[in-house]
Symmetry: C2
Subunit: 197 residues, 2 copies
DNA sequence: TTTTATAATTGACCACGGTCATTTTCGATC
DNA sequence: GATCGAAAATGACCGTGGTCAATTATAAAA
């Protein structure tokens, strides 16, 4: 039985998160330095690590927050009617992750989270994303827009795989000014979701 | 026009690599410490970084070496006849990568390398792997074992995506003693390579 | 052989994430 | 308000990867 945290602790946590968010705002995720966060927050370094397991734990909260916003937008939009529409629904998420390798790396660590008990923000938002995708695909199957020979859960995992593939490709190109991630994604999804023979 | 390296330099490089390989042998890839390598090799730390861009550069040579061996084995085996056989051909590679997250992370950085001019070992072996996969799929298409509506190149990339997906899943499970990566891979490949309607 | 340009190596130094024994603060109880 | 046990915060310290101006070894030219 753990006690309720003191007021002071919640304030410190909030301060750390808002400072970190501000730094990310102007330096990007990969520009975040623990020393800078604790300095601007006016606390000692150890304090940060008593609030978050490690730097990734802090990033996870920030990133999970953004993903949650994106998911809100996706849910509001409703199920797509075809693969092209599905692709464009995924575009904001792709653009967000493609913006910084740190995001991609962190999300990849959780891309297999299916278990319940998601005490981490990222895990929670990830599970929500898979659930949403599965719902969409289920709907699209019913509407006859995609293949029906596989459970939507499996198809959703495939979509995940291609999302990550496209993102990884994008980061490898490095300096290449290719098309948007979503454009790169579409042929894979078309092929993956096409009805079988 | 760069000059040929001196004898001494080649010896140092060889020494560094053999020491590193020995350490990996008994500590695993994630157990490798730069300090330990240079100490055992009897050189200064700066020397290592004049031979390899960074720690990953060293790891890339070691890992690229192993992947090359695996590819030799795969090429010797010839093209698979169906998806099940394809899966089992990929099993050794999966097992190798699944053995240590460091390998997975490093390979993922290069999983989009399609350009020529592969001065890095990993890039070279990666390109070779994609080429081999493409050849196999081309053969399987001709044999009528898989779908023919997409170019083998695209199908090969999809296989790549699923390889990475399965591996990522495996690392997320963490303590879970699931089935072999290859077993987890097969349903995805079956679905991905199945002829369309 | 001596000179000389440059290749190769060196190791003190830095950046950054993370730890933990110690100290400070909080808030419940008397 | 005084006391005290637990919660919170502290900051000196560590591990590890990576840098770079200075030094040493090499081989070609004089």
């Amino acid at each position: 039985m753990t006690r309720a945290p003191q007021k002071r602790r919640l304030e410190t946590r909030t301060k750390l998160l808002s400072v970190a968010a501000a730094i990310v705002q102007e330096q990007g995720y990969s520009g975040l330095r623990v020393e800078e966060v604790v300095h601007q927050a006016g606390v000692a370094k150890g304090t940060l690590f008593s609030h978050f397991k490690d730097k990734d734990g802090l990033l996870a909260v920030l990133i999970g927050d953004q993903v949650t916003r994106l998911l809100d937008g996706m849910e509001a939009a409703g199920a797509p009617l075809d693969v092209a529409e599905l692709t464009s629904r995924l575009a904001p998420h792709l653009d967000f992750v493609a913006q910084d390798r740190v995001i991609f790396d962190l999300l990849l660590r959780y891309s297999g989270t299916t278990a319940a008990e998601p005490d981490e923000v990222v895990e929670a938002s990830f599970i929500r994303q898979v659930a949403l995708l599965t719902r969409w695909l289920d709907y699209m199957q019913a509407a006859g827009a995609i293949r029906k020979d596989q459970p939507p859960q499996l198809l959703a995992e495939g979509v995940q795989a291609f999302l990550n593939h496209v993102l990884a490709l994008g980061f490898c190109m490095a300096h290449e000014t290719g098309p948007s991630p979503a454009q790169a994604l579409e042929p894979y999804l078309q092929t993956w979701l096409q009805p079988p023979g």
